[in-house]
């Protein structure tokens, strides 16, 4: 289990707000023999050291940047990304905070205004502190004449295009700078990366679970994929999970399996998926008979 974790993220320690993690980061850099300067992600900040902090660290830093200390601001697990030198604090929290280029699932709330060039602006709930804005012209291939009609309650998969300071964030359903290599499909074809999610069901999940589901080798999704049940799933990093399958029973099964997986170990997940699928398939068969 430990080996599997190391492939993805190198866990270092549990930190509390205010913890000085400079020495841990230095140590980690030394063991991985990297010369590059570490990057700091979420949950870490830098301060220039005061005298008493210098004393507490014991003065064992040989580097030139001893005056800069790295302090944790969140409680969680300090991890290092294996491919680069980014350190951050990993947490499993409930409330989403929008960041640029996040891919999120939103619910259309209402039309706010017209955008002045023939489109309409809609307010979309993305689970963050404030709603986001989406123009129905910011779809792939949308024109004044030919644009999607968004009605309240509609589910969308979109990315956060801009986060203007002091204003609501803007969403977009067109391909962005992080979507390199994805074929550009017109919104009419319903085959694009972003767009309206039709059918299925959506629910809120913790943000840590959402991030975990987005790994390509996520166990619970792989196990479900082996069970010969066709399904579609869409995960927004804002903690929204959308599931669609051929039967409502299967949709509920998949939702339950994903929710259960967050409190189960690897072997338990395999067993849970197997038993869930067997019970549901048996009850479907009994119903049909």
């Amino acid at each position: 289990m430990a080996a599997a974790t190391q492939q993805q993220l190198r866990a270092i320690s549990v930190v509390l707000p205010g913890d000085d993690v400079t020495d841990q980061i230095h140590q980690q850099q030394q063991t991985s023999n990297s010369k590059k300067r570490p990057k700091l992600g979420m949950g870490l900040r830098t301060t220039t050291a005061t005298n008493d902090l210098d004393q507490s660290s014991g003065g064992n830093n040989s580097d030139d940047d001893t005056t800069v200390r790295v302090i944790a601001t969140c409680a969680g697990r300090l991890v290092q990304h294996p491919n680069n030198h980014t350190f951050f604090v990993k947490q499993n929290i409930q409330k989403y905070r929008p960041l640029l280029e996040d891919r999120v699932i939103g619910i259309v709330e209402e039309r706010v205004a017209s955008d002045g060039s023939g489109g309409d602006i809609y307010r979309v709930n993305i689970g963050g502190p404030h709603p986001a804005l989406l123009s129905n012209l910011s779809f792939e291939g949308a024109t004044k004449r030919n644009k999607p009609n968004l009605s309240p309650g509609l589910l969308l998969y979109a990315r956060i295009e801009s986060t203007p300071r002091g204003l609501d964030n803007n969403l977009s359903c067109t391909l962005g700078p992080h979507d390199g290599g994805v074929p550009r499909k017109d919104w009419m074809t319903n085959e694009g990366t972003y767009g309206i999610l039709t059918g299925g069901t959506c629910r809120k999940i913790p943000l840590g679970l959402a991030r975990e589901l987005l790994y390509p080798d996520n166990l619970v999704l792989q196990e479900l994929g082996r069970k010969n049940i066709p399904f579609e799933v869409c995960v927004g990093v804002n903690g929204m999970l959308w599931v669609h399958s051929s039967r409502p029973e299967y949709t509920i099964l998949i939702q339950n399996a994903i929710l259960n997986s967050q409190v189960l170990t690897e072997d338990q997940v395999r067993g849970m998926v197997k038993s869930l699928v067997e019970t549901v398939q048996q009850s479907i068969r009994e119903e049909e008979d």
Binding site: D20, G76, G166
Partner: protein
């Protein structure tokens, strides 16, 4: 004091059975993520004082006009265990709330949450002295559970200062300092004792982030003595926070993050 034989024995024990020498804290307990709807929550127990804290946020303020485009705001709501008590101690609740608001605003990295409010709701379940410290610890635990960025971790210490005149039969001139008093101790000599709450920072135990005094007030000498007690005692709470958080993270790393 019932019998003269047990007199000496009783003097070394405090009403709840702690030794009067050595300034001990009451047993602590903490449960994180205990309510379902809140973004972060914690149940904090110090002896018989139990507080349930829930953090909602960052959320948009109810009145849009109150948004601050530069920094986040903190709102603190304190609810007492029963309605009668609530009416009676309304002033005190407001006083607690204002103090907690000031301390938390200083400790939360408000620059990261423009236009938002962090709402802290504190429900007192049982109250048995050292209320303010317990409220603060519950709030901090819930904020950590909600993943809100904190610049500093505040740690509160409650000291009961009993003036020398109230001690029957002793001729000592120094006043007595009791750490983490129960409500029985707080109300025992209401006239000649005061409660000092000092808030320290975890990494810098000699510095005081905030202080609050209930009762008649204390002399400078007593206050300095309290500061010394506080800087010694404030290591226990972060250690306990760490235990609680480690337990939560370990559970997650065995299941959610094991893959």
């Amino acid at each position: 004091m019932a019998g003269s034989n047990s007199n000496t024995n009783k003097r070394t024990l405090r009403p709840d059975g702690r030794p009067s020498q050595g300034n001990t804290l009451r047993p602590l307990a903490c449960e994180l993520s205990c309510t379902h709807r809140a973004d972060g929550s914690a149940l904090w127990k110090a002896g018989l004082t139990h507080v349930l804290a829930a953090v909602y946020g960052p959320i948009a303020p109810l009145v849009i006009a109150k948004e601050n485009p530069n920094q986040g705001m903190v709102s603190v709501v304190i609810k007492m265990s029963d309605q009668g008590q609530q009416q009676q101690s309304n002033n005190q609740t407001l006083e607690y709330g204002q103090f907690l608001h000031d301390v938390l605003t200083a400790c939360i990295d408000v620059s990261k949450f423009p236009r938002c409010v962090m709402e802290v709701v504190l429900q007192v379940i049982q109250s048995d002295g050292s209320m303010l410290a317990c409220l603060l610890h519950a709030a901090v635990a819930a904020l950590m559970d909600a993943g809100i960025d904190l610049l500093y971790m505040p740690v509160a210490t409650t000291c009961l200062v009993v003036l020398p005149s109230s001690l029957d039969g002793t001729k000592k001139k120094k006043s007595r300092i009791l750490l983490d008093p129960t409500s029985a101790e707080e109300f025992e000599d209401d006239d000649c004792s005061s409660v000092v709450v000092l808030v320290n920072e975890k990494n810098n135990p000699d510095a005081i982030l905030g202080s609050h005094t209930f009762g008649g007030g204390v002399t400078l000498e007593d206050l300095l003595a309290c500061v010394q007690v506080a800087s010694k005692a404030c290591h226990a709470i972060p250690a306990f926070f760490r235990l609680a958080m480690e337990q939560k993270v370990t559970r997650e790393s065995q299941t959610l993050w094991s893959r």
